[in-house]
Symmetry: C2
Subunit: 202 residues, 2 copies
């Protein structure tokens, strides 16, 4: 990798990780809720959730098997259902704390003081304190051979949002919900709407 | 899909697209620069660029073949190289305008008044006006059979950034570069750092 035409020869592992994590731009901050084969709830912070398509409603998630939220992939495989919960300004510290290496039998919900909320369609836990909660059914798992990560593809089966947040045109104003943006590994940002632009025509 | 336990029965196509595009949270805004087999430059706005891994430095991009930036995938396949350029507050309107359906022979650079910048490692065009420019080599293309999209995986081979933006610890302060965040399809946001949190321990 060349930086400004000079190879980044002297970067250590930490510098390289920080640098490459900064490149994509702003990221989403979501807590993934799962249930393991012992019936325990797991909660893990991810900045790798992304939109994959609207019809059918599909969302993608990149999981690193060797990273902290390693139980997440195992639980999604086993259970087939999981939840995505937006992180807002009031819970970002607790959300960040879920990335600590807790033992498998410890529920991150209790460890960081967040509350599991259950629906009737499946038994993966939502985060009660989140304002935008999404229930998903696993549809596909794709290995990324280049680095040993996995692309998890889920179909949205349930949404739990404040009624007033859903606009007539279908938009959810996530800024009004206080959802945060993440940059690099550990920078949390609030947002300010600059402008909504109309459909572009030549 | 159930919303607050009521099926979204009456949503039309536009409402559904707006809604599902709002779900993942804040997204990155990047211009992808490519060169086609006639030697013409193409530029297209994407909100689907994401971090895939640091070692090797890999970035992902979701492309919808039936959407406007359809030439992008064709060009990446053909050329093997492409660029990712952060959209900042000074160029978001021009960036948005690249999503208009220009004819294949029209260069979006000229149409929206942005300037191609060339490096020495490859012949895909960077956006001169961007403050964070990334050159990539195509490493893998994965079809997402569920909805006909493609995951494009590239390895970072070159970075062009203002020297002062690169911190001692490897971070690039993308907020200081004015990079914007996107929500749903067409909402552009600036950001304000809330806090940088330390590595979490149990």
């Amino acid at each position: 990798m060349l930086i400004n035409n000079h190879p980044l020869k002297n970067a250590n592992k930490r510098q390289t990780i920080n640098l490459v994590n900064s490149l994509s731009g702003f990221k989403s901050a979501n807590l993934i809720g799962t249930k393991n084969d012992q019936g325990n709830f797991n909660l893990a912070l991810f900045s790798s959730v992304f939109h994959l398509g609207a019809e059918p409603p599909l969302m993608g998630l990149i999981v690193r098997p060797d990273s902290v939220p390693r139980h997440t992939l195992e639980n999604i495989r086993h259970n087939g259902y999981y939840t995505i919960n937006h992180v807002h300004k009031g819970i970002y510290k607790q959300a960040h704390q879920t990335s600590a290496r807790y033992a498998k039998e410890v529920s991150e919900f209790s460890a960081v003081n967040l509350t599991p909320e259950l629906g009737q369609l499946h038994d993966a836990p939502y985060v009660k304190e989140s304002y935008l909660k999404i229930g998903l059914h696993l549809r596909d798992l794709k290995p990324i051979e280049l680095n040993g990560t996995w692309l998890v593809i889920g179909e949205v089966i349930e949404l739990r949002i404040p009624e007033k947040a859903l606009k007539e045109n279908g938009y959810i104003e996530i800024e009004a919900l206080g959802s945060v943006a993440v940059s690099s590994l550990d920078h949390y940002h609030s947002t300010q709407l600059i402008q909504t632009l109309p459909y572009a025509k030549p």
